[in-house]
Each structure stands twice: as C-alpha cells, then as structure tokens.
Amino acid sequence: MSDVTGRQGEDHKTVADIDPLELSRRRPEWSASQPMTRPQKAFLVALLAFVAVSFICVPLKAAQGVIAVCTLFYVVSTLYKFVVIRASLSPSAILRFSAKEIADCEPREWPVFSVLVPMYKEPETVKQMVASLAAMDYPADKKDVQILLEADDEVTLAAARALTLPSGFRVTEIPKSFPRTKPKACNIGLHLAKGEYLVIYDAEDLPEKDQLKKAVLAFETSPEKVVCVQSRLNYYNPQQNVLTRWFTAEYSAWFDLQLPGLAALGAVIPLGGTSNHFKTKTLQALMGWDAYNVTEDCDLGVRLGRAGYATRMLETTTWEEACSDLRFWIKQRTRWQKGYIQTWFVHMRSPLRLLKELGAVNFLHYQLLVGGGTFSVLINPLFWAMALVWFVFRPEGVAQLFPGPVFAAGAACLFLGNFVFIYINLLGCCKRKRDGLMWWSLLTPVYWVMMSYSGWRAFIQFFRDPFVWEKTQHGLVKKS
C-alpha cells in the first residue's frame, strides 16, 4: 500500500472535474465496492459446509469444537481489553497541549486549515454549525470551511443560502450520483480543500474552541509519520434518556480509554466518524475515503496503518448529539457494524499482504478490533442463551458442551470477562467526570443485547444491501 502515489499539485479543479470514486476505480481491491471477492465467498461457503457436515456426522464433537474456539476468542478479547486499558495509562497515550502552551506560541503564522462539514437534510442545524465553527479560536483568514451539500437537498441548501456565511466559509454542491454516501461528498471536499491540514465535523458537532490550534501543534511536535490526529468525541445530551446515558458511557470508554490505549500501543486505530485531523496532501495521496464503505473512517484508519502512517489521540473534545431514539440508534449501530464487516472483508482479501504491511502485532490488533468486535456481538446471544438455560434448567446437555478446561475458561469469561467490560464503561464515565452515569453503566448488559440485535441486522444487511447508508437522525434533543 505504500506504493500509493498521489496527484499533488492538481489545483484549480471544479466539482465536475473531480472523481469522488477514484479509490474504487484505481484500486478496486481496497474498496468495498465489491463486498466480497470470489475466493472469500468460496472460503466462507467451504467453512460453512465443513461446520454443517461436522454437526451432522459428529454433533457433540462439532459443538464442543465451536464452543472451544469461541471461548478461546472470549479469553483473548478479555485479556486484550486489559492490555489496551493498561496502555491508556501511558503518558504517550494522548497528546496534551495546555492553554498556556498555545498562548506561548503566539504570535505566529497559523497554516490554512480546511474543515469539511457534510450535511444531508439537516436545515435546522446549519445555523448552529456555522456559529460553532466561526467561534473557533483560529484566524478567520486561515479557515477554509466547506459545507458539503447534496445538489438535490434543497431544504438544507436554502437554509445555507439564507445565511450570510462568514469569510472562509463556502458551500460545495455534490452532484447527484451513486452511491449517496458521506465519504463520496468528503472526497469532493478533499479535492477542493486549500488547507495544509483538514478536519471533518458533523453538522451537529461542537468542537472545543482551541481544537484546530491543538491539532496544528500536535502535527508539528509529532514525528513525520503521524498524519492523523483523532480528537475525543463525547455527547452533550447524556441526561436525555437511558439510551443516551449508555451511549455516553460507551463513548467515554471508547474515546477516553480504549483509543488512547491503542495509540500508546502504536496500533491501527479505527477512526471516529468526525474530528479526525489529517495532513491534506497525505490524505489526497491515499485517494481519500472509500465511498462504498459505510464506516469509511474505520477503513481509512486501517489504510493509514497499512501505508506505514501513524494516528495519535489529541486531548480535546468534540461534543456531539447522542442518538436518543431507539429506532435511529439501531439504524446507526447497524451501519457502523456493517461498515466494520465491510472493512474486515476488504482488508482480508489478501491476509498475507495485510500481515506484511501491518506487522504481526498490528495484524492481531486489526483482527481483534475490527473482526473481533463484530464477531463478539454476533456470538454473544448464543452464549447468553446457554448460560441462561444452564442457570435455570441445569440440563446435562449444556454441561457436555463444556469439557473441563473449556468450562473453566468459559466460567472465567462469564464472570470475569463480562464484569471487566462493564467496569471499563464505569472507568470511562469516571475519567470523563460523569459520575452520575456510572450507576447506569451497571445496566450495560441490556445495551449489549441491543448491540447484538444491531449486529445481526448488520450481518444480514451486509449480504442483502451492502451499500445502504442508514443515516443518523440529528436534532432529536431539540425536539424533545
């Protein structure tokens, strides 16, 4: 992947000149435009056939084998969480810049910073978004803000046109074409970006005011290979209902503990959807985002790792709106999990090449983070059901499936592993100083059930509608 060459110096382009699907056209093997390759399909069919035949011929042995593999996976995942959370304590886990450090480097010439804000049918958030970005502590003449709007999204276009945009702000119309995804819009924005650095924000995002300056300092003080800096994301509406409480607890654990831990370990980082800052030229050289991948950010994080680049975490927060409606939450989570499945299949098209490019340790990170995350939400219901049946009815059949050591490992995962996962959420809340949410985090297992439901929905959708983008509904906090 390091053989990627960009088209630097191609200035003065218009929207019509830009190919937002360049990645899928020039390097189709890196794109989810084809969800699974033929060898992958053949392997999957062979694996399923092998499992089915085993269950028919030697049902008990087959079931014991499957359960042993799953138990081993749970053990490794739990240990992995320990390692990642332990690593998050490292000073190198997150880049920190105090207000004094920022003030000390003034006066100085700040580089042009491009900001991309993709929006779709969100007229009510345009005003807030413009105000929020205009208020950011960065020289107005160095801001290059593009509001990316679909050409047929008349309501949002009208709302944007009705405003007097500050200097440095512009609206970029995205021509109607397939697929209608956020990354496709971002690719057009990337081509038109003027800044040395570039960041993506969602329409409802409220980034901390000094975030752009911190990002610049982070790039300037980090080694050359650091081409992406991920800000922490959190929610401003945790108290809205129980769903937003759980969601906030999960985000606190993910962005405040797990991602810093991964950064400290030098691992591949599945980027968050917004507030990831890039060196523009490198991103252009990598041909931007995969327009067919519904978690293009996660995929890009892996591609950065494959190309030998590094991502770091930055101590600054972008406040977002937590989805407060269960239906929309399930749609959003389905998309995320489907995207993880897409990403896993894209990069596993040639596993040996992936191993060579990422290295053994990062390869393992990739498997546990991207593949393992989805695998666990898919198999969890099976194990919950078995545990429940065993506790209530104590049938001999279930006990037979867990021979000695597998039973011990399974029991450890059931009692220790699940506790660790809940405790990590508590820790995340504590670190975020959201102490009130900690009590709600004790009920996280209910949230896991919802995640598993979305996971199965995503798994089915991956085969039926791989490119469907179930958009997250924002602005619910205002409506409520």
Binding site: P403, G404, A408, L426, C430
Partner: protein, 490 residues
Amino acid sequence: MDQDRKTYRLVRLLTGGVTPVLLAGALLAFARLHDGAWEPGVQVAGICRELIAGTTEGRQALFGSCWMAPLPVLFYLPFAWLLPEPVAGWAAFFAAWLFVFWAVREAVKAAGVSGWRIVLAQAALAGMMVVSRQPQALQIATALTTGLALLTAASLADWAAFRRLRDVVATGATGAFLLLCGISFFGPATLAVGLLPFAACGHRETRSRFQAWLLLGWLPMVYTAGVWLLMNRLILGDSFYFLRSVQHLVPRVYLFLPAVLAPGFLLVPALIATWAIDARKATPGSGGTAASALLISLALVLMASAQVYRLFGLGWDTVKLSVCVLAVLMIALARLRQPFFRLAVSLVLFVWLSTLWLGGEAPVSVPESRDQICKEVEDHVNARTQYGRIFVLGYAGLDLLRDYTGERLVPNMDLHVGSQRRAYKGQNLYVLVPRPVGQVRAESVFWKYPDIYEQGAERLLYAGTFGSWRLFEVVSAPTQEQLDEWKKVR
C-alpha cells in the same frame, strides 16, 4: 532524550524482568531442597485434578470452603492442565514468586524509588523467605496472598498520596482477589477497600466525587463476593455453604464478625492524618507521609487480624498473614527516601528481625504417605467385597487421592449418606474420614456429623484405622441380588 529512554528501559528490564526471574529461580532451587515446600499447597493439586476431569466434586471443592480459597486453585489450574506433576508445581511456584517480585516493584516504584533500590527490596523479600526456613511461607498460596496484599496496601497508600484513578482501580481489583485468598483475608481486604472512598474525603475536589470512588473501589469486591455466593447456591444448593464451618468452629459467631473488622480502628489515625494533610493542600493528594502512615496501619491491621484468628482458635492459617505483615512493613521501609547504603543496612536488619517472627510459626506437619494409605484401604475393602466403593471425604481426601489411579476410592466433598446409598444401590459403601485437627476441622463433614471421627454416625460403623484416617462402613439392608448371591455361595 534517547539516553533517558534507554536508561528507563534498562531499569524496567532489571527490576521487572531479570531480578524477579533470578530471585524466583533461586527460591525454587532453595524450596526443592526443603521437602514439600514447593508443592502447590496441601490440596490445590487434588482440586485441579478433579476440575480437569470435570467432576462435581472439583466444582464443589473450588467454591465450597472459605478456608480452602479458590484463587490458588484457579492460579494453579492452567499449570496442572498443561504440565505433568511435578513440573506443574515447579512452574506454578516460579510464576507465583515472579508475581510477588513484580508486586514489590510496583509497590515501591510509585514512591519515586529508583532502580537499584527496587532490586534491593526484591532481594530482601527473597532473603526473608530463605532465612525464615518456614516451608509454608514458600507455598504458592502464600506467595499469591503476599503479592496481592502488597499491591492492595501500596495502591491504597498511593491513592492517599497522589489521588490517581489507577490506584482506585488497583485497590479495588487486588482487594477483590485478596478476598478469594480465604477467610483470613476477609477482614483486611474489606477494611482496605472500605477505606478507599473515605480516604478521599479530606479534599473538597475529591470529596465531591465520593460516589465514583465508592463504585469503582467497592464494586469488584462486592461482585466477587456475589459470585462466590452464587456459585455456592448453584453448585452446593446453599449460598452460605462455604461459611457454614465458621458456625461450627466458633462457639460465639456473633462476636467473630465484629472481631474480624475490629482491627479497622487501627486505620483511623492514618485516615485522620490523610484528611488533615489533604485539606490544607491546593490540589488533592496528601503526599508520602500519609502514604507511609497508611502502609504501617495496614500492616498493623494484618497483624491484629492474625491475633483475632488465634483468639478464636482458628490460628492455623496465620503464616500467610505474618508474611504479609512483614512484606508490607518492608515495602514501607523501602519507599522511604534514604541513602542507598542506609537502606541496604536497614533492610538487612529487617530481614534478620523477621526470622525471629516467622521462626515462631508452627512448622507444617510431615505429609503421610498417600499411596500407602490408599493401598491399605483398598486391600482392606477388597478382602471383604468385590463391590466396594470408598468415599474419601473433604479437601484432605482430594490430597490423599492426588496420585491414585484406581476406581475403588472416590472423592466426596458433601456427604449425604442417604443419597449415596440410593446412587450406588447394591454396592458396599465405605467412608474414609480424616482426623479433625487444624484446618481439617473446617471440613464440611465435621459440621454435618460433628462426632463422626470418634463415634461414627447413623448407619456408619467403624471399620479400621489407616494412618490418621478412619474407615467407616455404611450399613444398609442387603438388596435382593446380594441375598441371591449369598444363597448361591452357601
């Protein structure tokens, strides 16, 4: 910058890798010279054998007693599964002591003590184990409790000193694991973890987050206790099964519980000192003095706990507590900032003084010949019937059967004479009972049938004595098949 990083890596390798490996290896070599000292504790290997075989007895043994704690068994289980004995015992011993030396490093380094001083502290602890000549002090159960007690005490002290989130987590987690080390540590672990949120009340900033410290600190221990209760309910049918022996052993159990927690009063002065120092500081954290006060107070709590158990006639497990007291005191000494030479002298002096203390502990009794007893019992029963089945009772029974490969003798953790008769209808049943001395008094059979060893019990008739064991025959009316067989013989 690079030089600093290189030095840091070297120190980390020295204190976290080379020294612990060398010292654990040296202790293993030393322990092998002392018969039985390297063994994985009295019954741990027997329980693991049953667990690997997937028997009900194994599961009952894992959770069924507060005296035979689950943690050493769970620690030993992977070794027993992967390696043959005695290699499993050596490997577990080595790993347990590696953990202790790593714990020493973690306990000392937070106070800003440099590399060679950590090595000195690690060597002093190893020296203390060697010169004490106390085989029980070297067993893996003692090593695990020592390591956990060190981590609990040091992280609580660091919490008082620096108010770091990681110290709350470490105290909560190690305290919960300490709870799984047996009833001797119930009091000290509960007190250490219980103190955690209150220790933060001195400063306004941390006091306002009391519920966070309460949840993060207490939850692991509450959850661990809950799981232990649940396991007892699921496996033995009684949530408090593992504690029932206390009712039998302690005549006034209503005094025992307050007595176990009474050493908590020893923590009050250190707590007040922590509050006083913390309240006067601009940022939370009461510094090294309060940390030292807490460490010494926790050592006193461990010491007082040992006295409480002796007072109630349960002092057979106090070697572990004594080793923990000495280890915590030694850590408190090693954390003090003093010149290297003075630290070395004071640690040597401390090791020498510790021999006086540990030398006073009762030595472990010489184990009986397990194979011989099993063979004699088997021969005795075979001479009388070819349908005999002998239930060897309790944890002592699991130890007796460690190397037994026959089918006549079977372990039994929860004796129900009636249900065994129904389950083994037509067979001649026997019960092999250990002598109720020391920790064996806590076996479930003695709170169910208090006079069984001396007088037998209903339907149990004395059949012989083998070493310290007594064999009883289960008397029952003959079945029709047995009557027919006897008629044929006549």
